[in-house]
């Protein structure tokens, strides 16, 4: 709407002169975020200049740390809202949720993008990342499936989000073409997500001896897949709530009335999936008598994960849905997101050689890079939402 007639500079600088635009950016929040990102870039440069050994606390015994546990595993899980919502709207016909699909796909795309950047930092020889795709497949490795799925799904997410970019640029013909293949892209996205969300869990099947029995289970792939749906739904609730507060000026007037209803519908779905997920986790504990470890200190930490960050948000979702309290649903979603983060870090870092005297603690460079990647993701989300039709799809299409 009107974009074709608008200059590229106007679109880029929100209709302001460049000098005014730069001045508008000089706020305390932006300066702080810019500083964090700059620090992160310096930390990444140091990692590539000095190597993994100097920049991280990773060892041969603990080869996966914060960048895999947090940036990769959490980034991918929390990005699952893209495929969950796209499947709900376009495959299951739940059209009421259409207003939150584009933000969910954008969150998914950025989640994967920054997960891959985190992965590049973690790889000893990052220039070899295209090997499984183009050069040396390694079909016997779980990494083969993970590599291909992440590569393909990142491409699919970029294509799924491309209509917003094309509408912003005013490329109507190309936008129409992409629209014609959108359903195929969504089917492909759901397929790839199902495959690799679970195959990320499969990575841990190769190390039963190194993982604490309370977190190891032959069902880890299933846990990862089901919890990714929880993470995706919860993240959409969190993201839409925050967007609603932060982007008033981009919202269509009738959106505030819709948002609570959508949040409660998502909370209902979240409650049911979390309920199933909780029982699956308990079933995992019953396997090979792992439940006997519950009396150990690690059992307390697992109880915190399963009760405080899974059962409690599950019941809060259910209560919120029943009493139509969107505010409670948003708090529950925040807890659920935290629960997924804690779970992924538990599986990949905490449970790894649990109790070993040289237990891994991330270095300040690892922490700096992770914080900077999250900050950069939020900034990029804001930059895109301020320009492209993400929150008001109907308005911009008309």
């Amino acid at each position: 709407m009107g974009n074709a007639a608008t200059g590229f500079g106007d679109r880029l600088f929100l209709g302001m002169r460049f000098r005014d635009y730069v001045r508008s950016l000089m706020t305390p929040g932006n300066v702080l975020a810019g500083g964090i990102v700059a620090l992160g870039v310096a930390a990444i440069a140091y990692r590539f200049w000095m190597g993994l050994g100097a920049a991280t606390n990773l060892t041969q015994a603990t080869p996966w740390g914060l960048w895999i546990g947090f940036d990769m595993l959490c980034g991918v899980a929390l990005a699952a809202g893209g495929f969950t919502l796209a499947a709900a709207v376009h495959l299951l016909g739940l059209k009421a949720y259409e207003p939150v699909v584009r933000p969910a796909i954008l969150t998914g795309f950025l989640g994967y993008l920054f997960a891959v950047i985190g992965l590049m930092c973690d790889l000893g020889q990052p220039w070899r990342i295209p090997y499984p795709i183009f050069y040396q497949y390694g079909v016997t490795s779980v990494m083969f499936e993970v590599g291909w799925c992440v590569f393909l799904y990142l491409t699919v997410l970029a294509l799924e989000f491309s209509p917003a970019f094309l509408e912003w640029m005013g490329f109507k013909a190309l936008r129409k073409r992409v629209g014609q293949v959108m359903l195929a892209l969504i089917v492909l996205g759901v397929l790839l997500s199902t495959l690799h969300q679970s195959s990320l869990g499969s990575l841990f099947l190769m190390a039963p001896g190194k993982m604490h029995p309370l977190w190891y289970s032959p069902y880890i792939p299933l846990f990862f897949f089901v919890s990714a749906i929880v993470a995706g739904i919860s993240m959409v609730i969190v993201e839409s709530g925050l967007s609603h507060r932060a982007f008033h000026h981009r919202l269509s007037p009738d959106r505030p009335a819709d948002l609570d209803g959508l949040t409660l519908g998502l909370a209902r779905g979240g409650a049911v999936v979390m309920f199933a997920y909780l029982f699956l986790r308990l079933l995992g504990l019953s396997e090979d008598g792992r439940w006997r470890e519950l009396a150990s200190p690690a059992g307390g930490w697992l109880a915190m994960e399963l009760v405080g960050l899974t059962l409690v948000p599950c019941l809060m979702f259910a209560w919120a849905s029943r009493h139509r309290r969107a505010d409670v649903a948003r708090i529950a979603a925040g807890l659920a997101v935290l629960g997924i983060v804690v779970n992924r870090v538990n599986v990949s870092v905490v449970a790894w050689r649990f109790g070993a005297p040289d237990h891994y603690v991330p270095s300040w460079i690892e922490i700096t890079v992770s914080v900077a990647l999250v900050t950069a993701g939020v900034l990029m989300f804001r930059w895109i939402v301020n320009r492209m039709p993400v929150l008001n799809v109907e308005e911009e299409r008309s």
């Binding site: 000026h249 019953s286 139509r324």
Partner: protein, 236 residues
Amino acid sequence: MIAAGLHGLVLDHALAYLLAVLYLLSFVPFWRFVNRTVPAAAPAAAGEREAARGWFDVPDGFGFHPGHSWARGIGNRTFKVGIDDFARSVVGPITGVTLPGIGARVRRGEVAWTLHGSAGSLPMVAPVDGEVVAVNRGASLASGRVETDPYGEGWLLEVRQPSGIRGAEGLLSGAKARAWMESVAERLHRAFAPELGPVAADGGTPVHGIGVGLAPADWDRLVEDFFLNPTGDGRA
């Protein structure tokens, strides 16, 4: 030793089966709990909607922003801009308006002027993007025009949009605007029913200057929830 092993194996399997049965038995009541809303909620909401109907004037021919400002095209990519009946009712009696100067740039959804009234100061957001080309000085001098005629003589600004910037699309008008205003009134009734007192309870319309009787914390909540004042850095 073998017996103990067998015992452990049986116990593990029994636990697994028990969990499966427990899941199946508890899922149905859980599903019912999640999918049934509390019955009292619907009549209460309907009552609130009925009580709030028609509180605020929403004339045709205006585009309404959820921050309770309006825009009306007057040609040549120029819009007259003002406040709606809700804002007038909340803040009034109005003692003054702080307006931007001619040539200032306003952005849709960002604070553009401040209304001063007996209830307090109310920063309000612009309904459209553009450059201010005229201001209604009469409005800023507390002449009473904003209060008596917010959709006519009480206009605040004339804003001209540069070529290609979005116009007034996305603003609500007609039946959609009336439905939106009803939902706003309903939310107001629900959020501040005790403070609104007998006025709302007896089915009447709220008094002029709804915000006057609110505590400072409630006033801040009302300004944030109903006038969409952005609080952080919304741009990059």
